[in-house]
Symmetry: D2
Subunit: 336 residues, 4 copies
């Protein structure tokens, strides 16, 4: 249940409502919005009697969580949220393309590829320093050294940095060096990590789990939003199905569904969505045509030598062609 306080409710009224919530054995999750304060009532799965809150001073209304997500919902927040990626807001009329290698492999590699993707039209640089790998015997990323190289690449090019934090402990160091905290697909339901991201002062790129429904993605976004961080981008990156010709199945339906259900920007990752470089451009164009606000694309100078995900990485010149094609499609659907 959500308690929506009146516009201009006093601190004392809010405190009284919180006190009532806690007195009844629930926890209160306070979300101070620009216009009004909302109190999330966190309890168990049994129904709550809403009337016991509606008579309190300063309470405008209570709402059952019919849709299990609330802060992420367009019902509560009809206007599109813009996530601030330096001078390129994501979620506005212009398409935002983020690009870079799967892993940061070295200083010169990442700086070189940063220049290349910037020239091709990217507005942010992606690159993994902490890598979640299925095998403990695979390359696990350069760690903080990788983050430093990313920061150098930003200095050299001006591109903001998107990089993954795999655990609560990595959040501070990722925030120190990077501009956007990526939560990976395997961690979409790592709730402690989501809570920590909710307290961070950097935007979050939340990737859909390969086994997660659209609604679960929104519920995970809700954890971040409920923690106080309103700058969340959602990323469709392909789901796991019986079809094995491609690495994953890009759920293109999720783009218009998410745009209808939520005010948060929606980004497509066709590199993971297909797993094969030769299909990335076609699916990137499809994403833009379907209404995505941005793309995140794996690009490597020399994919056959990449330490990870080489099969789905584009060479820089192919990436440049992809950006041109997507710009044409964006114009055709009325976006810059």
């Amino acid at each position: 249940m959500i308690i929506v306080m009146q516009h201009g409710a006093s601190a004392a009224q809010i405190a009284a409502a919180v006190s009532r919530v806690e007195g009844l054995g629930y926890k209160a999750s306070l979300i101070k919005g620009e216009e009004r304060t909302i109190i999330g009532v966190v309890g168990d799965d049994r129904p709550i009697d809403r009337s016991q809150f509606e008579t309190l001073d300063g309470v405008e209304k209570t709402m059952p969580v019919l849709k299990p997500f609330k802060l992420a919902s367009r019902d509560m927040h009809p206007m599109d949220t813009h996530v601030n990626l330096n001078h390129a807001p994501v979620g506005g009329p212009r398409i935002a393309v983020m690009a870079g290698p799967c892993s940061v492999e070295g200083r010169s590699q990442i700086i070189e590829v940063a220049h290349m993707v910037k020239e091709a039209g990217a507005v942010a640089l992606r690159g993994g320093a902490f890598k979640p790998r299925t095998s403990p015997y695979s390359f696990q990323g350069l760690g903080e050294e990788g983050l430093r190289y990313l920061a150098e690449a930003r200095e050299a090019t001006g591109l903001p940095i998107v990089t993954e934090a795999m655990s609560v402990e990595q959040i501070p160091v990722v925030c120190e060096y990077a501009d956007v905290i990526q939560i990976g697909a395997r961690n979409m339901q790592n709730y402690d990590l989501l809570r920590a991201a909710g307290k961070a002062n950097k935007p979050v790129l939340l990737k859909r789990g390969m086994m997660s429904t659209i609604e679960e993605l929104l519920m995970s976004a809700e954890y971040v939003l409920a923690g106080g961080n309103a700058q969340v981008m959602l990323c469709e990156r392909g789901i796991r199905t019986f079809e094995k010709y491609t690495r994953n199945t890009t759920d293109i339906n999720a783009i218009p569904v998410l745009k209808q259900m939520t005010h948060l920007p929606v980004v497509l990752d066709p590199s993971h969505g297909t797993g094969k470089w030769e299909y990335v451009a076609a699916v990137a164009r499809a994403g833009i045509a379907a209404g995505a606000d941005g793309l995140i694309i794996e690009v490597h100078q020399n994919p056959t030598e990449a330490m990870s995900d080489g099969a789905q990485s584009l060479k820089p010149e192919k990436f440049a062609a992809l950006v041109r094609e997507c710009q044409a499609v964006a114009a055709a659907v009325g976006r810059g």
Copy 2:
């Protein structure tokens, strides 16, 4: 295994090769192409010694069926196949949009909607006379009466007719009234039906089964092609996954994958792919951006009153907007 006869191989040489095939206990499937004849060698799953055929007169080469489909493969037939839909070839530079109701419900209904979709830009009329329904207690279609109404709608508008044949016995009557035989998703592996379609003199629109792989779709096309019918369109119509917010999951990856693997035209059905009318246009645009050659869309004058599939049917004016949007996207990707 496939035996590729030389260009200009004589009838006697072909007969000798067939005779050798049969003498060894296999069946021969003869496919007379424009340039050369190919003999499919149909046996059990044990390996065949190819050398015993390669020394025959008139044989150019033999090929193991490494890719299990052969006639459908671009390796054997690099040029795009154009399927002739009256004056609108499918598979060429122009996008072909087929549209109409899920079911033919009556004479005036189908003629009216035919005019509407034609005006909006459709090049063919779809409509079911024989309906495969999960429940024996649901409306099963008007049958031959429905086919007659479809034929009247063609006379009234000039639009060729696409309609489903559910069984071998329905093929002749469908061919009598309609222009394209649709094989539905539930029948994609109804091999007797595929063989019968392979002997028909009308183009075939073959829909992917909701849990069939891309390769299985091509294998089913191979049945039709091996029967002698080269006019086959493939249709992606969504697959079944764990995600239940949409009726199916449109496998957008399948569009570029199929365009790479086969020379046959590829059509997208975003109505079944999403199952909800409000997402149909976005996914239709995505399909065109990804490289589809055509679309097949459910349109109904009054979706809330439709006898079947109302939730995924577009009103005519929304369909007209969809066509305009898809034309803009088609132009952006270099198609008419």
Copy 3:
């Protein structure tokens, strides 16, 4: 909707009810049970006003098809149905094991294996004469010749024959030679075939489609039952999932779910359910422990030489061990 006539309703009353149904534009599907007659009202998907039937003479009640299947439901028919497989009823206290090769490959092969599986404890012989194959270039079965060999194997051993009919046209010849008509997984929603099986005078073994829900399986059974054939066995044979280590994923949950929802006997096919012979016995035991009424198992004298499905076929001695193990489990769960 279903109209349940009173016990002892007269032929005239039934005719009057049918006439009313047809007069309102619906079709009537008459099912004469042992105790009472039921009229299935087949229309479109729009709601039917039931009151217009309830006042007719001889009508006991009408029932909306809330569960979309009705004749297959335990609500309508609480007692277990026994399917008569010669002297071994399926669905009673004793477990029924059917076994044999994927394909009939020759006369002596099938007679030999029939003796072997009988000796090991099988109560029926399975074997395919018409084979649905993904590839048109694979062995398609011996056809009627195979049926004759099956009939000879029955004469030699007394075992009733289970074999697949792939199309409406094959039903008569299958009924001529065999004792049980198998409907294969790929044909579970081939509605014309289901209707034809509903008119046949032999029991039906209906396999669940690899892409079909439990409810859809029951709906397909409903087609056969509504056609007048009450002797239907349901067969779980594995569904298609993301897990590819096994050929399919045996849906063991479906066993207790089906036993709760329907009165029809439930058979498990662990050969297709796993696709690898080394896991067949474990999953067969699991099926019996979960409440299955029978098993259908692929057995071949020499699996490595089998024309199809060799990887999942058991050698006769392994099959004999499986039967012994399953008998022990059956006894542990209170069955013979």
Copy 4:
């Protein structure tokens, strides 16, 4: 790649091998077994030249990681591993049944249910203190307070405690109070958590992700084993498929597959595998028949009042019947 040192290799020889590994830019992961030391060579995905290690003193052989898991594999460790659950080893001849509520809800609740499940035959008590919940507004567990109640229940009954750790930070407190660290399905690929569990001195119950393959489960176990913790139990708890009648689809095939591939004990969770209490006993019996070494079952005094997972929780008397049934099946398959 894995370097297997000779039995009796000296510390200096091991150090020299590690030094060579690191000198070539890889990381060395040292696993000291009872018989010999193994060095996991952790690098990127590019092939490693094994010959440069095989000539070192004390090296017995190197092995490419063909199967991507190694320590978990039966090839390396043919004998069954027994996980020590107080006086009830899991993985030996006797079936181990763990049971208890989804969540610890209070002191008296957990102590009462502990007595009940012990009396019914359980050898360990399960109960969640830290709960991973899809919604931030759902009950999140009692935290450390819940752990204290669990410890009290152990004192009262002697049953060892199985409870989930959701994050690296919770591992110490879970180890302080509990006997087995559960890693939940949503965290199966939370690699930092797996590494931390690998350094803990308590056995680990690792649940399969709801859309993770069998091989990925073994890879995640490999993280724990490579960290130095050999006491790992694997838990099949149902996967996510298109079938929605049950909450998940129990992958019964996984039981014999895992028993063949790995020496680690395999436990089945039919409560999550089905999601409905009425099917739990049937699937539990199936698991034992298929070869599972244990079960983990949700039991609640009053399921309709449970704070979470009430629909899949058994009442104590139904749980007692389940244990009796499973004991009969265990005896039938030759286990105590």
